[in-house]
């Protein structure tokens, strides 16, 4: 089974690297404001901006800004369900996206792991609606001890698979994210790292996007 998996991955990588690929590099800074409410409710307000630094040529280009609010409720000690809304300002137009998600988290000796299944629907003028089904596996690994304490560094590693349907078109995007985080205080985390996104590899030329990701998390109302 392992051999088959390795052969499959190597074949897929060869096929991807042989195809004509485009590469884009840029930065994605984001600010997350998290607020906990009674009865296991929680809200995350996020603002994220995307800026390109290289796309065929070295050139700064502002791309888009997202503003989103996702509200979640913990329904079991390790399960949260949630829904939210995202507004994207891109190319002089606004896109609207509805979000639904369920997350399963668990703490293991030395690291934490979470699985997230998400669906979203994106609507914009003059374009067909886009429907996506996403799965993400994330792990958070403390770098100084078995559990993550304040003023300690950690690694956050994500791998996400996004299935997208737009009319008759189907595409898949794969994301790999590796971030170095620092817990500044009980309510503040800073993260910096790389976010690699690969799409359009099923049909046509694959598109590779590599972002420098900078995330700030702040929890409101808790000191």
């Amino acid at each position: 089974m392992k051999k088959f998996l390795i052969i499959f991955i190597l074949s897929a990588m060869t096929a991807i690297s042989n195809a004509q690929s485009s590469y884009q590099y840029g930065i994605i800074p984001s600010i997350n404001l998290i607020k906990k409410f009674p009865r296991n409710w929680s809200a995350n307000f996020k603002v994220e901006s995307r800026q390109s630094l290289y796309n065929h040529e070295l050139k700064y280009e502002y791309l888009l800004t997202d503003g989103s609010l996702v509200v979640t409720k913990r329904i079991a000690s390790n399960i949260t369900v949630g829904g939210g809304y995202l507004i994207r300002a891109e190319d002089d137009e606004l896109k609207n996206r509805a979000i639904q998600q369920i997350s399963f988290g668990k703490k293991y000796p030395g690291f934490r792991m979470a699985h997230r299944v998400m669906t979203d629907q994106t609507f914009e003028k003059n374009n067909k609606a886009e429907f996506r089904l996403r799965y993400r596996i994330s792990s958070e690994i403390p770098l100084e001890g078995q559990s993550l304490d304040v003023k300690e560094f950690y690694l956050k590693i994500n791998n996400e698979y996004l299935n997208s349907w737009e009319g008759d078109d189907y595409d898949m995007e794969i994301r790999w994210v590796a971030l170095l985080g620092y817990s500044v205080s009980p309510v503040n985390d800073l993260e910096i790292g790389l976010d690699y996104r690969l799409d359009s590899f099923i049909e046509g030329n694959s598109r590779n996007r590599i972002w420098l990701s900078i995330n700030i998390f702040h929890s409101l109302g808790k000191e």
Partner: protein, 224 residues
């Protein structure tokens, strides 16, 4: 009038967000960046406020050469085949040294004081290793206190004279006089509508000794 101004401002912001890419909206872009930097500065301000105010417990990895000789010789005598990881835990009123390793497929955790004096050994076990009557009594206590709960972890805790515990661990692990046995059980449950983790301590016969809530040291962000 005030309300009208506020509405106007909102609409203006939306229009400029939508046209940030255009040359004509450079002023809007600058405003946006200024606001972004302002919010960023505020967040950093909050960060360092939290930084100076926080009181915390901290656990971090240390090297074997930094471990007190008493602790090192105790663990060396056990002859663990798996790698031993050493940690130092600094709390509000105590400092301790902890050795963690696997032995016979079970996680062992051995705690010492800051100067290497033996405190206790905790071994993570499958609940089936606990005598049936004792485990039934413990579950009875938990059922009385919680409508619904899930056992996350069970540890057997051995305390007593250092040499007796050492003899117990290196021998066939049958009960040695002078060693106190307790059971530490971590459960997840729901109390007053909130999900939380509790750590229970039971005696060798399954009597309730104490319980503590396991507090999260920081806000979890892995879901976002």
């Amino acid at each position: 009038m005030e309300g009208k101004s506020s509405n106007t401002l909102t609409i203006q912001n939306v229009n400029c967000l939508a046209s940030l890419k255009t040359v004509n909206c450079n002023k809007g872009m600058n405003n946006f960046i200024e606001k972004f930097v302002f919010v960023l500065s505020l967040i950093f301000l909050f960060s360092f406020h939290g930084f100076s105010q926080s009181k915390y417990e901290k656990e971090f990895r240390i090297k074997a050469k930094d471990v007190p000789s008493g602790a090192l010789s105790f663990v060396d005598s056990l002859g663990f085949k798996s790698k031993v990881k050493w940690y130092k835990e600094i709390g509000l009123n105590h400092i301790s040294i902890e050795a963690k390793s696997r032995f016979l497929k079970e996680r062992h955790s051995i705690e010492f004081s800051d100067n290497g004096i033996f405190q206790d050994v905790e071994i993570e076990v499958n609940p089936s290793k606990i005598p049936f009557n004792t485990y039934s009594k413990m579950k009875g206590v938990l059922s009385q206190r919680h409508e619904k709960y899930k056992i996350e972890k069970v540890q057997i805790q051995y305390t007593g004279d250092r040499n007796l515990v050492l003899r117990f661990l290196t021998g066939n692990r049958s009960k040695v006089e002078g060693i106190e046995i307790n059971y530490e059980v971590v459960i997840s449950t729901k109390m007053d509508g909130d999900f939380l983790m509790l750590e229970y301590l039971f005696s060798e016969t399954g009597e309730y000794v104490q319980s503590n809530q396991i507090m999260s040291k920081r806000e979890d962000t892995i879901d976002y």
